[in-house]
Symmetry: C2
Subunit: 350 residues, 2 copies
DNA sequence: TCGGTTACGCGAATCGGTTCGACCGCGAAC
DNA sequence: GTTCGCGGTCGAACCGATTCGCGTAACCGA
């Protein structure tokens, strides 16, 4: 069932059917009605492939996600969902491509076979070969995260440096003198993952500025790692009274380690950071944190990409988001003295 | 840069380039080398759209996920990841379509514009209009979950009835006399979501069989709902000593409600159910549960779909998975007497 | 009455591949 | 010495849409 079949049944030429559908040239009302009746009867919709070939665009965008091994965190998941949603509203389909390494089969297919009109690139690293590949292919794209040196591309990012700086100041104002940054996984930090690097930057700047002692440690992106890490940290630093983090997935583990040590938040220990709203609200007590507007970012990313596809030659735009810190109840004045973890733990175990 | 350009530069016809690439007809080694050199130099890859038009297949499959509003749980997320992965291995791309209602724009586009060669349909309901739509369009598809009446389709499902029955027997064997089933959200239950219905079936059968009292309650798919529900449940049923669940997302909330009530697992209360391995291991103590092999299911779904695309007329196959129950440490002998929640909670609050 | 719009519709070209039929030259077989 | 088969190549048709150029008829004002 194709446009020729419709034309035949309506007794007109194929071009007339096409014009009737697109409205790009006038078609007599009676003819149009006849055509529409046939279309309605057969439930015809023009073949997307043929249309794409002729028009030179696929009405599809690629969404490059971290590879399946690395589990997506809630922020990323919300982002994916909102991209798919926003794309649907713009009558675009979304092609998924898991890609981590530089030479990924599925990524390469997307680009060189021209399956998509544009790409949204998640989890950009500071040195990212995919950016060069996209530029070389002249394919419009929007990065989630930015690379320091490159102003030639469109991107949207969260101002991790600024937000972490903000949280550290907040803790310093509450009297904390020794503060930890629970960063993303060692692998991501080593790979030069932007948010991890910039969080560290902001952390270093703010601790120096306020004269507090800062401990910057990477942590696997899961509850277990968070628990082990914090237990070790509490053990090694009896005077540690607060932490800030960008590692959402470690939060449940952090909570457990604090419980195990018999520390009450925020009386004995303060916790803050940057996280998706859901995670922040799931913490107990609710986390004082900068809420990453992941849903909003998806909308913005699609809008930016659509704009870029329409006019690829305009100078690239950048959006740096700095959501406000929601004061919930996981931070408080520094305790005069934090009981040694061992003795507290013993007390609760009994 | 297209096949004509390659042909021109290599001094051959377009068909020769095509045959050289596909190997469907012999090409002289010298010619082949000349062509390959030009291709390597320009980095040519045949345009996917044009190829799809001629071949009549897009090498793309559609993955229909629950709409963005309903947050995906870990099981579903693992499943999506493994589908994308398995598809990539089979040189297929994955087009995402969020669809809940019956008349979804993006779903309809996928089907009627023939953007995909086949579809994987997640979260099937007992009455699901999308199934009929796919059959009518003669588009191969595999359902995740099955509809009772319809044996005409391919599906993969987890044997929720059997697994829940199994967990209830386990609890009964440990001496529990009153057991709750924490089911999925009221909306899903009302919509006739298969796993929810079948879990209830299995629960009813097993409680009857073992003569234990069963309480079957729906619960929102999030931590907060789990917490509220269980608190209410403990309050209303002082003799409730165990629960089983298929609602992963509620687990963290269940954990909190138990903590708040001062109940220790498994001494005071037993918890079990069906969950993704990650959630089961994240519970404290680790959850005795049937581990849903979501990653495996993705592989199997893609394999089944590929098979069905290749030969659409063979009778549909069904796969019912019944993963073994991993005995971890969240279930134990029923306590002689469970302290009233109020008095225990008061004790911990002090 | 005549030139000039405008409305309407058709045929053909085009997008970038794949594939069928045909052709040519050469060596083997009868 | 013709014929057959086969390796190697080319031209043309085709997939299903869009769109350009052109023809025709009706209608307008001068």
């Amino acid at each position: 069932m194709n446009i020729g079949e419709i034309a035949r049944r309506a007794g007109v030429s194929r071009s007339t059917v096409s014009y009737s559908l697109s409205g790009k040239r006038p078609v007599a009302p009676t003819t149009r009605k006849r055509i529409q009746d046939v279309i309605d009867e057969l439930g015809y919709r023009p073949n997307a492939t043929a249309r794409a070939l002729k028009e030179g665009r696929t009405r599809t965008i690629g969404l490059v996600i971290p590879p399946a091994g690395n589990r997506l965190n809630h922020m990323q998941l919300d982002f994916v969902a909102s991209v798919v949603d926003a794309a649907a509203r713009a009558d675009l389909d979304v092609l998924l491509s898991p890609s981590g390494g530089d030479h990924d089969k599925s990524f390469e297919r997307l680009i060189s076979e021209r399956r998509v009109d544009g790409v949204i690139l998640m989890e950009i690293r500071v040195e990212d070969a995919r950016v060069g590949r996209l530029q070389q292919a002249r394919l419009p794209f929007v990065g989630i995260g930015h690379t320091a040196g490159d102003e030639e591309m469109c991107w949207i990012d969260v101002d991790y440096a600024g937000l972490i700086r903000h949280t550290v100041r907040h803790l310093a104002d509450l009297g904390h003198r020794k503060v930890a940054l629970v960063n993303r996984s060692p692998e991501l930090v080593a790979a030069g993952y932007g948010p991890a690097l910039r969080a560290a930057e902001g952390f270093a700047a703010a601790t120096a500025e306020r004269g507090v002692t800062g401990i910057d440690v990477p942590c696997g992106d899961d509850a277990r790692s968070g628990q082990d890490l914090l237990a070790a940290l509490l053990d090694a630093h009896p005077d540690l009274t607060a932490l800030t983090t960008i590692n959402e997935a470690a939060l449940p583990g952090i909570q457990r380690a604090l419980d195990d040590a018999g520390l009450v938040v925020p009386q004995d220990f303060s916790v803050t950071g940057v996280a998706a709203t859901l995670w922040a609200e799931d913490f107990r007590p609710p986390l004082t944190a900068a809420d990453v507007p992941a849903l909003d970012m998806g909308d913005k990313a699609v809008a930016l990409l659509v704009e870029r596809i329409a006019s690829p030659s305009t100078p690239p735009r950048h959006i740096l988001l700095a959501p406000p810190v929601s004061l919930r109840s996981s931070t408080g004045a520094a305790p005069a003295h934090r009981a040694a973890p061992a003795e507290k733990a013993a007390a609760t175990r009994s």
